[in-house]
Symmetry: C2
Subunit: 333 residues, 2 copies
């Protein structure tokens, strides 16, 4: 297990979205986030205290968590200076990057010399089976997005928290590095070998009590050409009973794909439902989660009301206005 609490490393993040790993830890396990470490040029800010390694150590931090994701996951030379210093200062390192800490000879050597641990949470630790498609007991919910990074994980976490507060049976099932860093286990789906993707999700969401909900963390988007295959494996491996549509209304194009427009919620609904019903003919779209972080409150509430009317489904921003409305919708499933 990774030793807590953490110092969250934001590196030279080009924007706040790039630091979504750190943001997720701060939002869902604030007690684990002692402070943030930012390098020159860092455009992300979690609102935590900026700390040097020495200050964080004195404040009790045990692990430096790389809370920033780069496309392709490269550990730059500038980052490495900090990581080496952190090991020498007595921190363990934890990372969800493609480029593994343990594959960097200098980091591995310093870690060994200092007796520190390198945690690469992206590395699958299990030999996953090939999916068998057999129907499982218990209920499952999957959030699917019009784009990547529109709030799928937050939606699942917020609904999971709401359900547990109500005394309902719920488990958040992480499929990405942030979720795994938050809960301590899960499937690092984007690092799983193609043939075993759907099987890994079956493994993650086994038979359960009839009234238990697995809240599966979504990945990518069926409309994002770089990652749609990963999303498809979640839709078919997860056998969801309920889909939540996720959207960020101010996004001008698909993330990282300047030539691609976001689909409408209607297109997402129609496509996701057709695909999900291949694995579970009873699957329903039950609600809509809108990430309104870039909208003033009035505008956000107007937008949500318009979406509810247009789509005939409950719509909210579960992080801003609470997940109750979405959990209520489970009563119909």
């Amino acid at each position: 297990m990774i030793q807590t609490p953490y110092l969250l490393f934001l590196g030279d993040a080009p924007d706040g979205l790039a630091a979504k790993v750190a943001q997720g830890i701060k939002d869902w396990r604030p007690e684990n986030a002692v402070g943030q470490f930012r390098m020159e040029g860092c455009k992300a800010d979690l609102g935590l205290t900026d700390m040097t390694l020495t200050e964080a150590k004195a404040a009790g931090a045990k692990t430096l968590v790389i809370g920033v994701a780069n496309r392709g996951g490269v550990i730059s030379a500038a980052w490495k200076k900090v990581l080496v210093a952190a090991l020498e200062e007595g921190f363990d390192l934890a990372s969800g990057l493609h480029n593994l800490l343990c594959d960097e000879p200098d980091l591995a050597a310093v870690a060994e010399a200092c007796g520190r641990q390198l945690h690469d949470v992206r590395v699958p630790s299990v030999e996953y089976p090939i999916a068998n498609g057999v129907k499982r007991t218990g209920k499952r919910c999957l959030a699917v997005g019009t784009d990547c990074s529109v709030g799928k994980m937050y939606t699942a976490l917020a609904m999971d928290a709401e359900m547990r507060e109500r005394g309902m049976k719920s488990t958040f099932r992480p499929t990405g590095q942030t979720g795994i860093l938050i809960t301590g286990d899960g499937v690092p789906l984007d690092a799983v070998v193609a043939d075993f993707m759907a099987g890994s999700i079956e493994w993650l969401t086994p038979d359960n009590d009839p009234d238990h909900w697995d809240m599966i963390e979504g990945q990518g988007s069926l409309f994002h050409v770089s990652y749609s295959g990963v999303t498809m494996a979640l839709v078919h491996g997860g056998q969801p009973d309920a889909l939540i549509l996720c959207h960020e209304p101010t996004r001008e194009h698909m993330r990282g794909l300047s030539g691609y427009q976001l689909p409408s919620l209607e297109r997402l609904r129609d496509l996701a439902l057709v695909l999900a019903q291949v694995a579970n003919s009873d699957c329903k779209v039950v609600g809509i989660s809108v990430n309104t972080q870039h909208m003033a409150e009035d505008r956000a509430l107007d937008y949500l009301a318009e979406v509810e009317t247009r789509m005939g489904l409950p719509a909210t921003d579960p992080y801003r206005f609470g997940a109750g409305k979405l959990v209520d919708a489970f009563a119909a499933v």
Copy 2:
């Protein structure tokens, strides 16, 4: 490069479909297939001469190719006896199984002692990029199936052969072990890490002459819950201009999934086209390829005529009746 010609190892294949790797080599590079090696209980038969290792060696075979695929790809103890004997007899080994030859300590030791090569064509040899979705020049065709193993690779190979015979510019682009064993290169897509699947297909099918066709080997099925994510990556990474629908009319359920029915050709058409147009809005469904191997000729021809009328698209069995009709349909793209 793998040394030819081959002795094709069929092991204890439970049926003919399980030996589709060997069948593909025999059908598309018959000059490379000296004979077949079958163990007790083998239910597959390519119609090649059954040979002992010694007989095959005398007939000039240089490499024993594992031509049989097991679910999950396990090298059994019974197989291993033969493989060790083959190395000792002077054969190289080539395999597309998940379970790698080079990961078996005994095979690796014997190969080294005998000075023989172990070729694992499933291992990706390239660091693939993340897909960028940028439109590429040249034309691309992808075969998509109502199920796995319905003839997608044969369709692409037959169309490629027909186009080259006509003097058209065409390249068969393998995405599986059989195709790679046939042509000597390609992307072992089902072994690619999830995040890089679509990027590997962009890499495989780069910019080309405007009148050049990449004939991309399909994998899995959008309707097969075990492998649909792999298929999705082909649809979005391949940016096809033309889709060919593939079907095997006598299949009673999805391969390996007894509870799952095959979709109709109409459902496949509608779903595949919606998905393909996310990456290439000009994509068209141009024809239908029916695997009629289990149908008498009269019945096959009746079925094809009925499908043509119903779907309003050219339909043929390209392996049995020629691929001309499908290549003709490219004139409209």
